[in-house]
Symmetry: C2
């Protein structure tokens, strides 16, 4: 297949979004947006840096690349609508493999009725996929990380550390209980779009998705909001099945692992019940892990064994 | 410098666009758009495929990467407003070199008051830059390639083939008159934003930018509009200084060279004078090169030596 034939097999045949005026097929895509703010983010994945054939196939890779971007849009409280894909194709990658990457993206795009509206396919030495996602949000309901306030509760959805645990299992070919669960959490993260969207009744909410590790995201909210966040080590939700690993491994994954694409947020006490209701509606666990304090000695304090110790932004993850 | 420090030196310190609500510094950027259509395009450049150290430095590379994207927005009749950059940084690239790439982008961004609102910097084996550009256009003034109609004039701005000629000069280290001109046309293309924007009084216009060669762009308009375009070989505007090269080289560059980022358009006879006026206002040459005919034996016919021959979409460019 030449480049144009390949693109024909990749591009969407019909579009889902009514605000789309022109998708693929001109110099640029065109869409309309009245009464909404437009939200956009980009993420780039390089083979053997962000993913590898050893741990996932092409369909999973495509799925994950787009999921990660959708998670950024969810963390803004927005609904994902469109995406554009740039892909660098190395000579050894077959047309089928390229199509499988797009198959994975289309799979998760269809969940959110998203449209592929543009992109670029070029040749190069190594596989690289860059995705730009565009979403809409009611203009007074954008969820910034600078909106945390003193006395807010700090919460997290789902469990953290699973994706890192899954990658560890894959890289070391371990045979442990619930391997499939952890591996799926690594390969097929589910961005929390519906949950974030359904929090719209709440007027103020700080929100981040957990892409770079819980510790990093806590720092980002604390620094942007000019507060200190105090969390309790005993409250951090991890999967029960993770207990077969050492305490050091668990701590490492839950604080610094990231890539679970759960949401971390802060909300006033009085809105907490609403957050729980929305989570319940979506069958999603939501856990209070701490609270927001006046700015003190460190952006993030960890309560562990009755002591408050500063939690660093980045820990060290031993990849064996 | 670590990744975060590097990003701090790269990101814009102040923003220019009043419609921007949030730039870099959260999960995604946010902007507002009332009464306009939003136009978006992405282009990706890989070192040693789309550019090389042999022919341009980092500042030029950054400039050119963004210029090319702006050209797509211009070809839609839109004004470029925002851009997002993904960059894969190989180990041998210094912080200074990365900053120089962004310096080049900022240089052309400042011409159009564009804001850098997001991006991703990741490590990898080879340098890759992917840029997403977002622009606005009055909703009934989007310039599609499917809007050519029978009896339209076909026009082109500036001269074509210069950028390919410049690349040829660089790759072969030639010493010819006006080398600097041709080289600048390769390294520093000027997208025709002001010209395209000022054509807004004209109700209908088909427009493409010449990125892949005149022949290819003619095909795209003819096919999208379901017509045949007839052009006259004698009318194609090339730089006088190109006459030191062989006829074969000239033909090759003017029809298949591309990357001049001039605009190709079709417009009704009655609006032609307005197109000329706008071009004059911007000190830009505009040339009538042919006309739009009912669909016949080929999408594009070339009048050469009193014969009409089909012009292929892609020719062959010998890169010596």
């Amino acid at each position: 297949m030449n480049e144009f034939e390949l693109i024909d097999t990749i591009k969407q045949q019909t579009y889902r979004q009514t605000s789309l005026i022109k998708g693929v097929g001109d110099d640029a895509a065109v869409f309309r947006s009245d009464g909404y703010d437009v939200v956009t983010a980009v993420d780039t994945f390089v083979e053997n840096v962000h993913f590898s054939k050893k741990t996932m196939d092409e369909v999973d890779t495509g799925y994950r690349v787009l999921a990660v971007n959708i998670s950024d849009i969810a963390a803004m409280g927005a609904s994902p609508k469109f995406y554009l894909v740039s892909i660098v194709i190395p000579p050894q990658l077959s047309d089928k493999q390229v199509q499988d990457i797009f198959k994975g993206m289309k799979e998760i795009a269809s969940v959110y009725k998203m449209d592929l509206i543009g992109g670029d396919t070029v040749s190069g030495d190594s596989l690289m996929i860059s995705v730009t996602v565009i979403g809409y949000v009611h203009r007074d309901k954008v969820r910034y990380r600078h909106d945390a306030m003193e006395n807010d509760l700090v919460f997290v959805t789902g469990t953290v550390g699973d994706a890192s645990c899954g990658l560890h299992i894959l890289l070391n070919a371990l045979d442990v209980d619930n391997s499939d669960y952890f591996i799926a959490r690594h390969r097929r993260p589910r961005p929390r779009v519906a949950f974030a969207n359904d929090l719209q009744k709440i007027s103020r909410l700080a929100l981040n998705d957990i892409s770079d590790g819980l510790a990093n995201e806590l720092h980002e909210i604390a620094e942007a909001s000019n507060v200190t966040i105090q969390i309790d080590d005993n409250l951090i939700p991890i999967s029960h099945a993770m207990h077969v690993f050492t305490k050091e491994e668990q701590d490492n994954w839950k604080y610094f692992g990231g890539e679970d694409f759960e949401l971390l947020g802060t909300v006033s006490e009085q809105n907490w019940a609403q957050v729980v209701d929305v989570a319940n509606k979506h069958g999603l666990q939501v856990t209070k892990i701490g609270s927001v304090k006046p700015k003190s000695i460190a952006p993030v304090l960890l309560q562990q064994n009755n002591k408050n110790i500063p939690l660093e932004k980045k820990g060290f993850i031993h990849k064996k």
